[in-house]
Amino acid sequence: MTVTPGPARSRLDPEPLPRRDFLGLASVWAAASAVLLSVLGMLRLPKAAVLASPSKKFRVSVPESLAEGAPLIPPGRSVALFRDANGIYAVSLVCTHLGCIVKPAGDGFDCPCHGSRFAADGRVLRGPAPRPLPWFKVTGSGGNYVVDENAVVPPGTRATV
């Protein structure tokens, strides 16, 4: 077999494109997609499947003496329970802006971090908060109640006393 020299080529000219590089390209893309998929697979690890935070459902006793409009904040929880003529209801104390804990103040809630103000029913009155404070589902009666922070209910929903 004899080798015939091709047309003269300078060292600066690009190499001519090979005509049949299908297999080469296919193997490169196969390797690249294998790497990509394994990286995506590894990224699943940091996305926690079980959260380390405490249960979102908790029991609370509301004393008879709780005055109308006065907040009852169970220890370690960011929820305020209120009593009024129609029953017991629970309002989240986590600001919908950036997660600070709002303070019940007068007829509403104040956020210490960026000055959002909420009405007694959780509506945004001023400040950067994008959404009203959510109400949580309260079940039970006769002084003992269960609050479920995973169950958001429409404002005005109460557990009967």
């Binding site: 926690a48 600070c100 994008p130």
Partner: protein, 517 residues
């Protein structure tokens, strides 16, 4: 017998070798000999793995203080200081809630030199942020981002983001009230795309904000998972990323032909100093290059390297000087000011006011208008805009000169006035009269997200620089205006956030006016 006289006995040779060990060791370690001639000075630099990042000769323009003010080396020196002090702090720090707080207390009060090391670590981190920001401004105002340095500008931006990430992750580790609430705010900024998905009602199908927060914290609130993640990022992932980026950044400086200098730098410098050793005794007509292997200009085209001086000692001594000055500043600050440690983190009571480190307070000012726009939207616009600058400004005049020559300074000063004026104006309206929701409480959130003091300011800056491009018929003028405006806006918002915001993020002229609570 004759062989014995030619070569001494093996035992004698052994003793002679033993005596010669110190000298031989030195010769083997420093192979080129002491750097006393131009040739051995060259060997000293390129024969050393740590020093060979430098060229063996440095242009005199690069050594002028006003070329760089040593800011890049300052940032690098501060990084090395945080690296050393950080490793020392790791001897005692324990990344677990409450235990972390107690271990920081131990470091502060019990560990020998612990408080000093923690102070240095904290001050060096601050110096690093300042140096990186100023270094970026220097590179911008001398147009050092122009071809062939566009990509290195982008690497520099990645370094800025990594530096801020290192600071942010380090902020949580003491596990005090300040740390806990600053990170709670930060994590909720990561979640703030929900502000838009909620307004559109698609959060249950598409929730990038929730995913970001979940991956950052490993949970739905700041707790033990978040602390170990921030620790991992702070001591492992981000330092490694930073080191890799720094290597690329330095390598690119060499490959892009050293530091930027004006086209007529040689004429401006005047004749080389009389003691310069001439490399070429006549004008070199011929150049030596590797045309088939690499592209680009050849080292010597019609001019000898007489405007360069040996890097050892000129450049290396200057760098060592900057390093020592940076160390001195960090030590002095550490002696007069302790790193803060508030009470133990309490998830039930928010710090009031809850302030992030000072370089994030401009951002915090913006998120007090809209979490998504201030925390993600506007920073993304700014980063994209900064990254596009080298590709949009393709002019050549004024490269390597401060503000692009004599006409640039008035333009920059005008932009300072516009940038500060617009920021003050928007803030005065927001502080004095409130914003849309105070005027009409039922206004849809999406309107506030799109039209708030932060976005209004961004639009003013964009419009002003577009006008500059038209007025001066120059893309460089637009770039100068935009960069200066954003720098001024950043500084003004940071100052307001740092000094004039009190409880409930209300405006106060002085902390003395803060209400008691």
């Amino acid at each position: 017998m004759s062989t014995m006289t030619v070569s001494p006995p093996a035992l004698r040779r052994f003793l002679d070798n033993l005596k010669a060990v110190p000298q031989q060791f030195r010769a083997s370690a420093i192979r080129g000999g002491m750097p006393r001639t131009d040739r051995t000075r060259s060997t000293f630099v390129f024969g050393n793995v740590f020093l060979h990042l430098h060229a063996v000769r440095t242009h005199r323009w690069s050594l002028r203080w006003s070329t760089t003010w040593g800011l890049g080396i300052t940032a690098m020196a501060a990084f090395l200081i945080t690296l050393v002090t950080g490793v020392l702090l790791m001897f005692y720090y324990k990344p677990y809630p409450e235990v972390a707080y107690l271990s920081i207390k131990d470091i502060h009060f019990v560990v020998p030199t612990g408080r000093f090391m923690r102070n240095i670590h904290r001050w060096a981190a601050n110096v690093m942020v300042v140096a990186v920001l100023l270094h970026m401004a220097r590179a911008f105002y001398t147009a050092a981002y122009r071809p062939p340095r566009e990509f290195n500008w982008l690497v520099g931006m990645a370094l800025l983001v990594t530096t801020l990430g290192l600071s942010f992750t380090g902020y949580l580790l003491p596990w005090d009230q300040l740390a806990f609430w600053a990170i709670t705010i930060g994590a909720n900024i990561a979640q703030s795309p929900r502000e838009v998905t909620d307004a559109l009602g698609i959060t249950q199908y598409f929730d990038p904000g929730g995913l970001q927060k979940l991956i950052l914290l490993g949970s739905d609130q700041v707790g033990e998972e978040a602390l170990i993640r921030f620790y991992l990022l702070h001591v492992m992932i981000l330092p490694l990323a930073l080191a890799a980026l720094v290597a690329v950044h330095f390598w690119r400086i060499r490959k892009d032909g050293g530091l930027v200098k004006p086209a007529d730098a040689d004429q401006r410098l005047g004749p080389p100093p009389p003691d310069t050793y001439p490399v070429f005794t006549e004008d070199p007509a011929k150049t030596y290059h590797l045309a088939a292997i690499v592209r680009g200009k050849t080292p010597a085209v019609g001019v000898g390297p007489e405007q360069t001086v040996p890097s050892m000692p000129h450049l290396l001594y200057a760098e060592a000087g900057v390093f020592m000055l940076t160390t001195l500043i960090c030590l002095a600050l550490s002696l007069v000011s302790d790193a803060p440690l508030k009470e133990l983190a309490n998830a039930a009571v928010a710090e009031n006011p809850a302030k992030a480190p000072w370089y994030f307070l401009g951002l915090q000012e913006l998120v007090s208008f809209s979490a998504f726009m201030g925390g993600i939207g506007i920073p993304a616009i700014v980063l994209i805009g900064l990254g596009l600058i080298p590709y949009l400004d393709r002019e050549e005049a004024g490269t390597g000169e401060w503000f692009g020559g004599p006409g640039g300074l008035p333009l920059v000063l005008m932009s300072v006035v516009v940038g500060l004026g617009a920021a003050v104006g928007v803030e005065v309206i927001a502080i004095r009269f409130g914003w849309l929701r105070e005027w009409s409480p039922t206004i849809p959130q999406l309107v506030i997200t799109l039209v708030n003091p932060g976005t209004v300011l961004t639009v003013i800056y964009g419009a002003y620089s577009t006008w500059l491009v038209k007025r001066f018929n120059s893309t460089r003028a637009g770039a100068l205006g935009l960069f200066t405006c954003f720098l001024c806006g950043f500084i003004l918002l940071t100052v307001i956030g740092t000094y004039f915001r009190g409880p409930n993020w209300n405006f106060y002229w002085s902390p003395a006016d803060w209400p008691h609570h």
